[in-house]
């Protein structure tokens, strides 16, 4: 049976950064990365950015590591395989090809999967998701001949795909189930700012709309909505959320909810098993909450800290994460935890009329996060306010004043 000192399941940024970090202190301990894809590390972020997508830069720019990186660092790359069972007492992982691998330390950096659209006809050619490089290739191909696209879902994928489709010269209509774009992660005002940008770019938006059936032969030709209306199209982009397929762990004793439960050291409830990245439902010591955060910066930093812990140095994960997307003249930035909840106090900063609108999210006395529309310049100072656990209970008025310099609330250093 193959056996490794460090076994990492997941070849994305979390898994690879963990491997890279382990190698900084342990050059010889045997290390393998298992990935369900066959490519070396590539940038999932870049997959939906115009220069790559529209072919303005070489396709190979997507790769962040070449095969030689794995060889040079003595990292075995077990590509095109999925983990199917875990026996924690024996420390054995079973893979999709039937092979069993023994490990001393295990990292589950599984990422998340794109939610599958469950309407009749959704399996027709021309219905696309965008998670993997192969799916990206498929979309790039479709765009060459398609004239009319329908986007299902309002979120990162919907936003970025709308931008790309219009840049590629297609007609585009976005169908969302909610009342406004990205409800409830964005509030109505922020959502409407995005919608205004979409409309200016020529994207039609249909709110509170759901598809009943995808029409066509084996290739998509349109959709029939629940209200009976038929919309013709020759391609569909589906961005309706993500989930973690963790069923294979149900007999392992691993604690998991929406994601794999981790403490502040990114350790799971099973000894010698850690988790990092989009799949981790981790204890955030800054926010004092358990949360699951899917973005590049978080995945990379969690991979690094998990790697440090696995190599033998206990280190708490302490990081205010963030993500920015921009297109069609608008920038959307999320900092920290932006999930709505009854315990949240929201303070508005600026307004849609000013074309600069932020929402500061407070729980108790401290900031936990913010959504910023065209106010990315405050991302850094807001991160610091969260990081330093600044008590803002006496400063709500200042927080609500868009001209007030938030840096004044930071501890004097």
């Amino acid at each position: 049976m193959e056996s490794y000192k460090y076994l990492i399941v997941g070849g994305g940024i979390a898994g690879v950064t963990a491997a890279e970090t382990i190698r900084q202190t342990d050059k010889d301990g045997s290390l393998a990365i298992i990935s369900d894809e066959t490519y070396p590390l590539y940038s999932r972020v870049m997959l939906s950015k115009p220069p790559f997508f529209l072919g303005k830069i070489p396709f190979e720019s997507i790769y962040m590591k070449g095969p030689e990186w794995y060889a040079e660092n003595h990292i075995a790359y077990l590509a095109g395989k999925t983990a199917t069972a875990l026996l924690p007492a024996e420390k054995i992982l079973t893979l999709s090809d039937g092979s069993k691998i023994k490990y001393e330390k295990l990292l589950l950096a599984l990422g998340v999967a794109a939610r599958t659209w469950a309407v009749p006809g959704a399996e027709k050619k021309g219905v696309h998701y965008l998670r993997t490089l192969d799916q990206g290739r498929g979309v790039i191909e479709s765009i060459k001949t398609a004239k009319r696209a329908i986007i299902i879902g309002g979120g990162f994928i919907g936003f970025e795909m709308a931008d790309l489709l219009r840049l590629a010269g297609l007609e585009a209509t976005m169908l969302i189930r909610e009342k406004y774009f990205w409800e409830p992660l964005l509030d109505e005002k922020s959502g409407q700012m995005v919608e205004a940008a979409l409309l200016r770019t020529g994207v039609a938006i249909m709110r509170e709309t759901e598809v009943a059936e995808v029409l066509g032969t084996d290739v998509v030709s349109g959709v029939r909505l629940k209200n009976g209306e038929v919309l013709p199209c020759d391609m569909i982009m589906c961005g309706i959320g993500v989930f973690s397929p963790l069923d294979w762990l149900k007999d392992s004793g691993m604690k998991f909810g929406r994601g794999i439960i981790a403490n502040e050291y990114l350790a799971t409830n099973i000894p010698d098993i850690w988790t990092a990245g989009d799949v981790a439902e981790y204890r955030d010591i800054l926010l004092e909450e358990t949360l699951e955060l899917g973005n590049w910066a978080n995945a990379r930093e969690q991979g690094r800290v998990a790697g440090i812990n696995m190599a033998g140095e206990p280190m708490k994960f302490k990081f205010v994460s963030f993500y920015t997307t921009q297109g069609m003249g608008v920038t959307i930035t999320f900092v920290g935890d932006v999930h709505p909840g009854p315990d949240r106090t929201i303070i508005a900063r600026g307004s849609p009329e000013l074309n600069s609108y932020g929402r500061i999210i407070i729980v108790g006395k401290e900031l936990v996060g913010a959504t910023l529309m065209n106010r990315t310049k405050e991302m850094s100072v807001i991160s610091k306010l969260i990081d330093h656990n600044v008590d803002v209970s006496a400063h709500h008025a200042e927080l609500g004043d868009p001209n007030f310099d938030l840096a004044k609330l930071l501890p004097a250093n």
Partner: protein, 85 residues
């Protein structure tokens, strides 16, 4: 390239003489800063700017450019030839 900022580099032992940041590509992931905090910093718009073009050696500079998830860092040699990406 539309929204770019160029920085000259004149480090004695270096083959790289220009660093260019594409501000449209930059998403502020800050992995370059993690590689070389002496070279880069985030500005008020959460985009990367170069604060010390001569601080890092070529290997480190290349690593920092390679770490960027959107390949927003471009490196050029003395003849103006693109070294990375």
């Amino acid at each position: 390239m539309a929204n770019t900022k160029e920085y000259s580099r004149n480090r004695a032992d270096s083959k790289i003489s220009k660093i260019v940041i594409d501000r449209d590509l930059c998403i502020g992931a800050a992995s370059c800063i993690a590689v070389s905090g002496a070279t880069y910093e985030l500005d008020g718009e959460n985009k990367v700017i170069v604060i010390g073009a001569n601080e890092a050696d070529d290997d480190t500079l290349l690593l920092s450019a390679q770490s960027c998830p959107t390949k927003a860092i471009f490196l050029y040699d003395k003849e103006g030839k693109q070294v990375f990406p």
